[in-house]
């Protein structure tokens, strides 16, 4: 009852004035208070990143001896060294090729499975759901040795070693999809459950097939959920290094490695153990960070909107 009263009071001239006056001290204090906390956390998150980026413009001598001060002169040579030694351009290309397919297909397959499991009752539904759930809880590195053999042998068995075998785009794409599925399914499952059933029923009565219904009606409705899980998958696959480190390596001295970006970065990190070139390492880091940062900033609004929709609606 009080709720409705106050709601009605708001538009009147006197209402807001009095209420604002009443809560002013608390509000001002809280605002100041929240700004301090937010700013402190913002610094804790932002400063290390800025610091790391700045290091790429400095000489090794400065990095070692005055790590906390600004560079006296700005060098960009480290970026060139990182580009050549870290093969950033080439590995960036490989990463994009793999992720174009793996992210898209992860989402498609994940949505298909999640939709069927969430909206259709059939024997074995729960079993399949828990099968995917299991994938969420197993430590990834434990399946590594068997996974290597599986990729190798399956491709050989099918005569497709150069397509989906070791050190191929196809092989890594399939593995990425498979390992992204549990989380994608888990996330989208709860999402599809909450979507209204009315539309679906109406569609079916209109004579639409289940497939049409999915692609024409349910998938567009699930867009917010797809956006957020898409972001997860992009970040997850972009930063993945255990899987490519196992599968994307030349299998003999006569093969070219199709490394992805994280492997290039890892190489730079490992190199820094034998020949110190800190600036190069930080520059590589910055270069590797940049594309995903730009993606994030560009799509920031959609991502936030997607997240808003995904869980609650």
């Amino acid at each position: 009852m009080t709720t409705t009263t106050s709601k009605h009071e708001l538009p009147t001239a006197s209402g807001p004035v009095t209420t604002t006056e009443k809560r002013k001290p608390e509000g001002r204090f809280l605002t100041g208070f929240s700004h301090v906390f937010l700013a402190v956390w913002g610094l804790m998150v932002g400063v290390p990143l800025i610091w790391a980026t700045v290091q790429s413009f400095r000489s090794d001598d400065e990095i070692l001896h005055q790590p906390l001060s600004l560079p006296t002169s700005w060098h960009i040579g480290a970026f060139g060294r990182a580009w050549t030694k870290g093969h950033i351009g080439e590995y960036f290309f490989n990463t994009i090729v793999v992720m174009t397919f793996s992210v898209t297909l992860s989402m498609l397959f994940g949505a298909m499975v999640a939709y069927v499991l969430a909206r259709y009752r059939f024997p074995g539904n729960r079993a399949i759901y828990y099968l995917f759930f299991t994938g969420l809880v197993m430590p990834i590195f434990l399946g590594l040795i068997p996974l290597y053999k599986t990729v190798q042998n399956l491709a050989a068995m099918l005569g497709l070693s150069s397509v989906i075998g070791l050190n191929t785009y196809g092989g890594l794409i399939l593995v990425y999809i498979a390992y992204s599925l549990p989380f994608t399914v888990f996330f989208l499952h709860s999402f599809f459950r909450t979507l209204s059933t009315d539309v679906a029923e109406a569609g079916l009565i209109d004579g639409a097939s289940h497939t049409t219904l999915f692609f024409r009606v349910m998938l567009p409705m699930a867009k917010p959920g797809l956006v957020s899980i898409g972001l997860f998958n992009i970040i997850g696959q972009w930063n993945q290094f255990i899987l490519p480190n196992l599968l994307m390596k030349p299998q003999s001295g006569f093969e070219e490695g199709k490394f992805v970006l994280t492997q290039g970065l890892l190489n730079l990190v490992n190199n820094s153990k034998y020949e110190t070139d800190w600036a190069r390492l930080f520059a590589g880091m910055t270069l590797a960070m940049l594309p995903i940062l730009v993606t994030y900033l560009v799509f920031n609004r959609q991502i936030q909107a997607g997240l808003t929709g995904s869980i609650t609606k």
């Binding site: 068997p146 053999k149 190798q152 042998n153 068995m157 003999s252």
Partner: protein, 472 residues
């Protein structure tokens, strides 16, 4: 219950079957590569001659895996071109690896092992796990050398080289580079201050006190990587208690770690820490930072090996003169004299049996051990190859010269330790005990108790296969 385990067994059998699937495919490929393969056990097809003692097929490619670390890539590319020159028509493909273990384990289980592997890097293959799949290198050592067909390879190598690669009393690893370990310092700093490298504990204490007055720590160590201090401690144990003290440890003897020698060593290190002679915070610093402290003249000595100069090349001062010296004596009654050092052939190479061209793998190593190959290695890496006389007359660096001097002075007083490779859990326990010691968590009592417990546990553990007792 039995039903489940039967199922699991089926799983295993299937796994084994899946593993076998790879073999025909690999065999098929190999057959394609050289259709005239006769399979004489070596994979070689040509006749064995003095010039080609393993019967290498000149048309067969060679698949090599080399550690991409402090030595760079040029030296290995040099071996490859020597091989390709000799066997025109063949190609040597090199895969570079930062972690041999991580990269090679799948290839061993997947039956696609390469023909020759440089088993170095921070993570190496544990011989115990793959020894059945390796070629016994006796054949290599008995083969004629490239430079003189009348001299066997084994006679061209520095003493102790072959022995350093024994496993189960058979040579499976060829260690190709000689590394000298010890305390490194910047001689330029010592010259300007008029200081001398100490040979006894008392001299060290006096020097440390002087250095402290100038704000210099007398000692530092790569705290994040206790391996460096492991060298220091085991070397001192050998020096104070004689080689028997280390043999007892290697052989997991009861009370090996509670011996007087171990106590003495740990007490001295503890004293050094207590007196503030060790760089502040070193216990949690990494190798780059602490090694740089010596170059920056903030610390006098750091334990390391003769790769140090190469590793720090980019940040050396123009007047830095890195030199290595033996660890100073701790007591007047040390069993081994001053000058005792650890010097070991390292940078191991192995030849898997299961590669497509194991004869080529052996030949690659034979070429590597030629005068030309070894010389190139010394010039490019500033490290000492195991081939006698190959580095004579090279005076590249202060480190190189001092290492040679230390080695000559040591004579037969050369430390070697085995348990780190034999019983990895004991080694890990030691790393833990060292970390605790160096970060001020107790002294010799805690150290020796912890280590003895760990050693006893391994001695009693049926899951750990024991090595034959060490007597030399």
């Amino acid at each position: 219950m039995s039903h489940t385990s039967l199922n699991r067994r089926t799983v295993l059998r299937r796994a084994a079957a899946a593993g076998l699937l790879a073999t025909p495919a690999a065999g098929f490929l190999a057959a394609c590569a050289s259709s005239d393969s006769t399979g004489d056990g070596n994979g070689g097809t040509a006749a064995k001659t003095k010039d080609n003692p393993f019967g290498v097929d000149a048309k067969k490619n060679l698949d090599a895996v080399v550690f991409d670390g402090g030595f760079g890539q040029e030296y290995a590319k040099g071996y490859a071109s020597l091989y390709e020159q000799k066997y025109s028509g063949s190609k040597v493909g090199i895969t570079w690896s930062k972690e041999i273990l991580t990269d090679m384990q799948p290839r061993f289980t997947g039956n696609t092992a390469p023909d020759v592997i440089n088993n170095s890097s921070p993570k190496t293959l544990d011989l115990a796990t793959i020894v059945d799949q390796l070629t016994d290198l006796t054949e290599l050592y008995d083969a004629p050398s490239v430079d003189d067909p009348n001299v066997k390879i084994r006679d061209t190598l520095l003493a102790g080289t072959i022995e350093s690669g024994l496993f189960n009393d058979k040579p499976y690893t060829l260690n190709a580079a000689y590394t000298v370990y010890g305390f490194f310092h910047d001689q330029t700093l010592f010259d300007t201050k008029g200081w001398k490298v100490p040979t006894t504990w008392e001299e060290f204490l006096a020097l440390a006190e002087n250095a402290k007055k100038e704000g210099i720590a007398a000692f530092t160590h790569q705290g994040k990587y206790p391996w460096y201090m492991y060298n220091v401690i085991t070397d001192w144990i050998w020096k104070v208690g004689g080689k028997e003290a280390i043999f007892a440890i290697d052989n997991l003897e009861p009370n090996a770690w509670t011996s007087d020698a171990v106590k003495t060593v740990i007490d001295h290190i503890h004293e050094m820490l207590g007196k503030g002679y060790v760089q502040a915070g070193a216990a949690a610093l990494d190798h780059t930072t602490t090694q740089q402290a010596v170059i920056d003249r903030k610390a006098l000595f750091i334990p390391c090996g003769t790769w140090l100069e190469g590793e720090m090349a980019k940040t050396l001062r123009s007047d830095t003169k890195l030199e290595v010296s033996a660890q100073w004596s701790l007591t007047a009654s040390d069993k081994s004299p001053y000058g005792t050092v650890r010097a070991a052939a390292g940078e191991g190479w192995i030849v898997p049996k299961t590669g497509k061209n194991p004869a080529g793998g052996l030949e690659f190593l034979r070429i590597m051990l030629s005068k030309a190959g070894a010389r190139k290695f010394a010039e490019l890496t500033k490290s000492l190859p195991v081939v006698k006389g190959a580095a004579d007359g090279l005076t590249g660096s202060s480190q190189f010269v001092s290492a040679n001097k230390v080695l000559a002075a040591a004579g037969t007083n050369v430390v070697s330790v085995r348990f780190d490779g034999w019983y990895k859990d004991l080694y890990t326990a030691l790393e833990g005990a060292i970390t605790n010691l160096m970060s001020g968590k107790g002294g010799s009592a805690e150290f020796t108790t912890a280590m003895q417990k760990a050693a006893d546990k391994i001695a009693a553990d049926p899951n750990v296969k024991k090595q034959p007792k060490r007597t030399a």
